[in-house]
Amino acid sequence: MKYMLLAYTNREAWEATTREWTATGQMPAEVAAACEFFAELGQELVASGEFVGAEGLADPAHSRTVRPSAGAPVATDGPFAEAKEVLVSYSIIDCATAERAAEIAARVVAGTGDTVEIRPLMSPTGEL
């Protein structure tokens, strides 16, 4: 069964980290730690045969939103985050049980401090 893990992070903390990075010119320790954590977890999931895909997202400042509208869909910049928590990364895993998916999600939470939502993927197959 495949699951998508959606990690949400505190927007203000993300912005504070970016400010620190800009001010010092050094990658902040927590960013380095998160990078190292994801590299390790990725290797581990490839080795366990559970990895399907994972990506980190760019700053929400780059967001554009396309909305339905009369005539053609309309694209606008933003949203310029008003939400406290914003999507920061996603991964897709293929694992044996829902418990195992929760276990991997708990690792992400412990490794990054992010909040992780677990969503099973719809399967294209089925029978009655």
Partner: protein
């Protein structure tokens, strides 16, 4: 070169090499190299008179070469190399496919490793093909297969203990249901492998039963979904689309399995149920009392609550929907998060003339399933009752 011939020989070649030398993981690589050698040499030099013996001989030499490269195993290699030069590996009479199946379905392996390993080592599919079938990246599937091979190696080759035929049948059925649920080529592979096991172990009633179940299920393939991919329930399938030849063969096998088995096994019983459905020319002609009796027997040999749920449907068809609904209570707790419970209840409320209750259950089932075609079907049923 006849690639189909070479591929069909892979399990026997691999089985023979592993039986003789062990080292499953290295042997598997060696057999792949032997296939490549065949691919380049046979068109030039001609197909050997005994292609299987040729492949075994070349694979054995490759295996020895690869082991020679491993300094840590130097002494053992020398003994192996000496024996390979002395007595070329004999082609055993016994079919090594079965030995290989026992190994790939070894209880020391987790189930999610048994299926891909069987597809790779026994069915001869490439890692890329298996990855596509399971919709995962190829490196991920390669790792699953490698891990499975390492486990066999760590377990000491696995040949010391006899394998379990029940485990083999379960893996073959898992491959079949993967295919049955949309990947036709896997269903065909499962039938091909089960046919093979049946030729070797047709004396086992459950082997016959499993083959019958697969053929009878596969017979309905063309009727199971519309051209657009929408699922069609059994009662509404166009029975003219059912494959009569497969049904005839499956039914004959069911009879053989039920005559032979001292105790009816779960595969033979499920096949018997499929055979009763198959013999009805129209859904209304279905012999539900007989199906109900078979579900009673099936319930006694398995602890699967879905069997009880199916018996509830058969009960409803014989004794009325209220009796069926009452029976669903018995598994309500165990199947609380399984969409099948709500789907069956929806169907039975519909039969009972309670469209509102039926609709509510169809919607609940649609929310619970993670299968897109099932969700679409359940929402369609709910919409019809509006």
């Amino acid at each position: 070169m006849d690639t189909a011939l070479a591929r069909s020989l892979v399990p026997q070649v691999l089985g023979a090499v592993v039986r003789r030398y062990g080292h499953f993981d290295a042997a598997e690589d060696a057999v792949q190299e032997a296939l490549i050698a065949a691919h380049t040499q046979w068109p030039v030099e001609g197909t050997p008179t005994d292609p299987k013996a040729w492949l075994i001989r070349v694979a054995a030499r490759r295996l020895v070469d690869s082991l020679r490269a491993d300094q840590a195993r130097k002494r053992r290699e020398e003994a192996l190399a000496a024996s390979a030069d002395r007595d070329e590996v004999s082609v055993p009479d016994a079919d090594d496919t079965l030995t290989l199946l026992f190994l790939c379905c070894h209880p020391a392996l987790p189930q999610d490793a048994q299926v891909p390993l069987t597809l790779r080592a026994v069915a001869g599919l490439t890692t890329a093909e298996i990855a596509r079938a399971f919709l995962v990246p190829e490196p991920t599937m390669a790792k699953r297969i490698t891990r499975a091979k390492h486990r066999i190696r760590d377990h000491g080759g696995g040949f010391a203990e006899p394998g379990s035929l029940a485990a083999v049948l379960q893996v073959l059925y898992l491959v079949f249901t993967e295919g049955h649920m949309g990947r036709a080529d896997l269903a065909a592979e499962a039938i091909r492998l089960t046919e093979h096991v049946h030729r070797l172990r047709g004396d086992e009633a459950e082997v016959t039963g499993l083959l019958a179940l697969m053929l009878l299920t596969d017979a309905r393939r063309a009727a199971r979904a519309t051209a657009g991919g929408a699922l069609v329930p059994l009662a509404e399938q166009d029975r003219a689309l059912w494959d009569g030849a497969l049904i005839a063969r499956g039914t004959a096998l069911v009879e053989a399995a039920l005559t032979r088995g001292a105790v009816f096994g779960p595969y033979a019983l499920q096949a018997a149920i499929a055979a009763v459905h198959a013999e009805a020319r129209a859904a209304g002609d279905t012999d539900w009392p007989q199906i109900l009796a078979l579900y009673h027997l099936l319930e006694q040999v398995t602890d699967n609550p879905v069997v009880t749920l199916n018996r509830a449907v058969a009960t409803a068809m014989v004794h009325g929907p209220t009796a069926g609904l009452a029976l669903t209570e018995r598994v309500a707790e165990r199947l609380a998060t399984n969409h099948r419970l709500a789907a069956v209840r929806a169907h039975l409320w519909e039969l009972a003339g309670e469209p509102d209750l039926a609709r509510e259950q169809y919607l609940a089932a649609a929310r619970q399933t993670t299968s897109t075609p099932e969700r679409d079907h359940l929402l369609g049923r709910a919409a019809r009752l509006r």
